[in-house]
């Protein structure tokens, strides 16, 4: 199993009826949120952020707690949703298209609507906290769920049959077969989700529009405050704390988990070495932990197993794991009917709100979309221009890789949104101003996906092919044309899909900035969304959010999906 850093796209036609329904439902949901926003307070005071270094541990803890809460939510969602989709054919028909659309939606575009609607019904503090957790959750959950679902549906049939023949109950089957089989993919995707989550956390912690200050006490807000006040030392403290937090969590949590999950590898082929983890190694040698496992954990597990096996024994077990089929029950029919009506009503409301918009507002909307599109494209092209040569150089040279990779990993772990206030401060006075700063931010958020994928692709080029190319003495250009570019193409495409998604997301926070009590905006869809949020122009907020979502889904479905297909069919190494 070799992982690429990005989503796996299912092989489906580019837009289906299911997608249309999901998009309609999204529109309905957003319009509901926007209608709640009318009641949101017009002025909102943010927290007071202390720049004292002694406040940093508390801020780091707060930020991490938000991440942890969102991650737990994502994990619970993943297990329930993925399991339902894998076990029941009826559920699968609904759940998978929903997942597919949600995966390609720019999550950050929801932030204003979620913040506004929550602050309409909740006190200020919990509203912003819940909005942040929800936002991180929506950025983390989809790829984890998809990975879990895919694992469940690709369990080798003989392992499944063995579970049936030996009459495993649902619980025993889940914990001996299904969960272990999915563990490696789940841990890997959790790691990716966690890393991506920082980007959204920072965005949520620093979100301010006009008189509405939605900031949250945390590392993101600290960095923004420091940049705002021009306190270089505080900026440095903040960045160091942030990187330290991320690196420590990586070392004591994710690396050991990944190393541990390696025992759930199914292919028995040796070769792909496990991830080493010093901390995991330390834990595995601990005598105390060993004793605890034998004396406490094992009997407890036995008890839980027996109890759960007893309670779940009577659940129907579909032989061969084919999933239950047949007619949906009345309850399902009524529920889905009610849901359909709700969606239709919401869609109707949304349409009403949109048609009420004067024609004149649509023109800046299209211009904004175009401007943001150009920015995204520019960021991607710049990223490609440097990551492809650099990634190939690193990937094809083990010595260089062992030296550069750790540095790149640390630099890449800094979420771009955390540095954004600093960059804005530096670039606002430069020619191009926020326009350039926005591209830089997009670039910072996206280039790493590309770089890591190119490195992975280049290091996966089979040695035989490289030797052959050497023996043929292909000139430099042919070498790239015949060997390197085709070999890394699938990786570049996966990286670019993720990077593109990240760039669109970044537009929400990049095209609008508050600095020194003044607002700065540039032309773009993100600026429109921010402007509409601060002015309370809710129909425009709905229109621009929907326009952004539709555009991104459309680009994903047409351009990226055909590239992905090309990569899978033509340039796959077998």
């Amino acid at each position: 199993m070799r992982f690429r850093f990005g989503p796996a796209l299912p092989r489906r036609p580019w837009l289906t009826a299911g997608d249309a329904v999901v998009l309609l439902a999204l529109a309905a949901l957003l319009s509901a949120g926007v209608s709640m926003a009318w009641r949101a307070p017009a002025v909102r005071r943010g927290p007071v952020i202390s720049l004292s270094p002694s406040a940093l541990p508390a801020y780091a803890l707060l930020s991490t707690a938000r991440m942890a809460a969102a991650y737990c939510l994502s994990l619970a969602f993943t297990l329930v949703y993925g399991y339902a989709a894998a076990r029941s054919k009826g559920a699968r028909r609904v759940l998978i298209p929903v997942l597919d659309v949600l995966q390609s939606v720019p999550i950050l575009s929801f932030l204003p609507v979620v913040l506004l609607s929550l602050s309409a019904v909740l006190p200020q503090k919990p509203a912003a906290e819940i909005a942040a957790v929800l936002l991180i959750f929506t950025s983390q959950a989809w790829n984890m769920t998809y990975s879990f679902y895919q694992s469940l549906t690709t369990i080798p049939s003989e392992l499944r049959e063995a579970a049936s023949v030996f009459r495993f109950g649902p619980w025993l089957r889940f914990r001996t077969l299904e969960l272990p089989f999915s563990a490696l993919g789940l841990v890997w995707n959790s790691m990716m989700s966690w890393a991506g989550g920082w980007f959204f956390l920072m965005a949520a912690e620093i979100f301010t529009v006009g008189a509405r200050d939605f900031r949250l006490p945390g590392l993101g807000a600290y960095l923004q405050e420091a940049a705002n006040r021009g306190d270089t030392r505080a900026v440095l403290y903040g960045i160091v704390t942030l990187v330290a937090t991320i690196v420590v969590l990586d070392q004591v949590l994710w690396r050991p988990l990944l190393a541990w999950a390696d025992k759930f590898r199914v292919d028995t082929v040796a070769g792909e070495e496990a991830v080493p983890s010093w901390f995991g190694h330390l834990l595995s040698r601990s005598v105390i932990l060993d004793r605890a496992r034998a004396r406490l954990v094992a009997p407890l597990v036995e008890r839980v197993d027996t109890a759960l096996a007893k309670h779940l024994r009577d659940a129907p077990d579909a032989p061969g794991g084919a999933g239950r089929t047949g007619r949906p029950s009345t309850v399902t029919l009524v529920a889905s009917g009610a849901l359909a009506l709700l969606v239709l009503y919401g869609g109707y409301r949304a349409a009403g709100m949109l048609t009420a918009l004067p024609i004149a507002t649509w023109k800046p909307l299209l211009t904004g979309l175009g401007a943001t599109f150009l920015r995204v494209a520019a960021a991607l092209l710049i990223a490609l221009a440097w990551t492809v040569p650099a990634g190939v150089a690193i990937g094809m040279n083990r010595r260089l890789a062992s030296f550069v990779q750790p540095i790149v990993q640390v630099v890449a772990s800094i979420p771009a949104t955390a540095l954004f206030p600093v960059i804005v401060v530096a670039l606002l006075s430069a020619p191009g101003g926020l326009n350039i700063a926005a591209i830089v931010l997009m670039l910072m958020g996206t280039q790493w996906y590309l770089l890591f994928n190119v490195i992975a692709g280049a290091s996966a080029i089979p040695q035989d092919l490289r030797f052959t190319t050497d023996l043929l003495r292909l000139p430099f250009l042919d070498r790239w044309r015949v060997l390197i570019l085709p070999a890394i193409f699938p990786y570049v495409v996966t990286g670019a899909i993720t990077a593109g998604g990240g760039a669109w997301n970044a537009s929400i926070v990049a095209e609008h900035a508050e600095f020194g009590g003044r607002s700065y905006s540039t032309t773009g869809i993100g600026a429109l969304i921010a402007g509409a949020t601060s002015r309370g122009d809710y129909p425009l907020l709905l229109a621009s959010t929907l326009a952004l979502i539709f555009t991104v889904v459309l680009i994903n479905r047409t351009f990226w999906r055909s590239m992905y297909r090309l990569a899978e069919e033509r340039y796959r190494m077998e």
């Binding site: 049959e161 023949v165 495993f168 109950g169 001996t176 272990p180 061969g320």
Partner: protein, 429 residues
């Protein structure tokens, strides 16, 4: 235990299994009658795709039959058969559990407390000769050792009927041989409480080595075509004349006599006759077979040819079928005989071989239909999907394999070929 079911352990009455429905149904097995009595070691033998694995899954209750009755000790079977268990071809061990845990898990599912599980598991691991490996993970074991764990796990639940699903075919030759002997020792020595064993295999030699009785299946649709007792005493030796004679007899039953050539039977899509399938064989294998038989003087024992070319029955039979279809060879009581045409082919140069094959292939309706369709097209290029769609109505889910084989053969004969970039078939200029 009741004496019902006239002493039989398992009885199948007119069992059939269809996948899909309506006009597109695929018949995996049809109308199978079979009985397994206590004390028997039954070998279920047949080429791949004949539905023997399907039958095994019906017997164990993993997948229900779509017609007929499955009786266990005279009672109709509902759901998983609690008295049967399977040893799987690919072992089906849980890679994240140790050897001992893999055996224990079967007992845990039955609700045994931890101490009892441990005792039983350790005894069985000992019995199959894996003591010392209790805490090893499957990935640390060789294939043969992994399958021993598979046997230990199966025997842990003390099944009355032990089903073996090609248990030796994923092993290397030596491990397979050793494990076969160990299984026989356990079975003949009555050191396991198993009442009967059902061995599914496509390896004729293995079946004759182990089983008391053979049930032989054919395909299209999967059905029982013959049954024969193996009257040989244990231990059986491959070089015994009686063993060789039995082997010949089984080969004759499995491969069947050649049907007379009936010209262009069946079908270009739309024609009334039943479809005539292309055997899924690579054309290179055909050339190899012809040369080998020619070397042997134009007539040879199928099972000797098979072992001489290191081909399993599954790989050999399609090639033999292809040779029959093209008119290069005939099969008669376990022997393959070259026709004069086959002899000519074996002696010919490569270009001449292509000529011969091309001429013969155009007699096959599917290939001729594709060829003529391409000829009539203005560019002499037609999309693959065009052919696939029409073949689907004849061959259902086998259509892609049929088309792939047709292309493979036609490529060799330089009749037509396939453009992978555009997914089109086109005529060779």
């Amino acid at each position: 235990m009741s004496a019902a079911g006239n002493g039989s352990l398992l009885e199948l009455q007119g069992v059939g299994k269809e996948y899909g429905g309506g006009g597109r149904a695929f018949v995996a097995v049809r109308n199978v009658d079979m009985t397994i009595r206590p004390g028997e070691f039954v070998g279920l033998l047949g080429p791949s795709g004949c539905g023997k694995s399907t039958l095994l899954r019906i017997i164990t209750g993993l997948s229900p039959a779509t017609s007929g009755r499955v009786l266990y000790r005279g009672e109709p079977l509902a759901g998983i058969n609690p008295h049967a268990t399977i040893v799987f071809q690919t072992f089906a061990l849980y890679p994240w559990l140790t050897v001992q845990e893999n055996v224990e898990i079967a007992l845990k599912a039955r609700g045994l407390p931890p101490n009892d599980r441990r005792v039983v598991a350790l005894r069985l691991i000992d019995l199959v000769g894996l003591d010392g490996f209790e805490s090893a993970y499957p990935r640390e074991l060789s294939g043969g050792m992994r399958q021993k764990v598979g046997f230990a796990r199966a025997m842990a639940v003390e099944p009355e009927l032990l089903c073996l699903d090609e248990p030796f075919s994923a092993l290397d030759v030596l491990s397979a041989e050793a494990l076969r002997n160990e299984l026989l020792e356990l079975w003949l020595g009555r050191s396991i409480p198993t009442q009967a064993i059902l061995l599914v295999t496509h390896n004729i030699e293995e079946a004759v080595l182990l089983a008391d009785r053979l049930i032989i299946m054919g395909k299209d649709p999967g059905r029982v075509i013959a049954e024969m007792p193996v009257g040989l005493r244990y231990p059986r030796h491959r070089k015994d004349t009686a063993f060789m004679a039995t082997l010949d007899k089984v080969y004759a039953l499995v491969s069947g006599p050649s049907k007379p050539e009936t010209g262009a039977a069946g079908t270009a899509p739309g024609q009334p006759l039943p479809p005539k399938r292309l055997p899924i064989a690579r054309i290179n294998g055909l050339a190899g077979l012809m040369e080998k038989v020619a070397e042997e003087g134009g007539r040879a024992d199928l099972h000797r040819i098979g072992s001489g070319l290191h081909l399993e029955l599954d790989d050999l039979l399609p090639v033999v079928e292809a040779a029959e279809l093209i008119g290069f060879a005939q099969v008669d009581s376990g022997d393959i005989l070259l026709t004069p045409l086959g002899q000519a082919f074996a002696d010919a140069s490569i270009p001449a071989r292509k000529e011969i094959i091309a001429g013969r292939l155009l007699r096959h309706p599917t290939i001729r239909w594709i060829y003529e369709t391409l000829q009539q097209d203005d560019d002499q290029r037609v999309a693959e999907s065009y052919f696939l769609e029409r073949l689907q109505s004849e061959f259902g889910e086998n259509a892609p394999a049929q088309l792939e084989t047709a292309i493979n053969w036609a490529r060799y004969a330089e009749l037509f070929t396939f453009d992978d970039d555009t997914d089109e078939l086109f005529l060779e200029a």
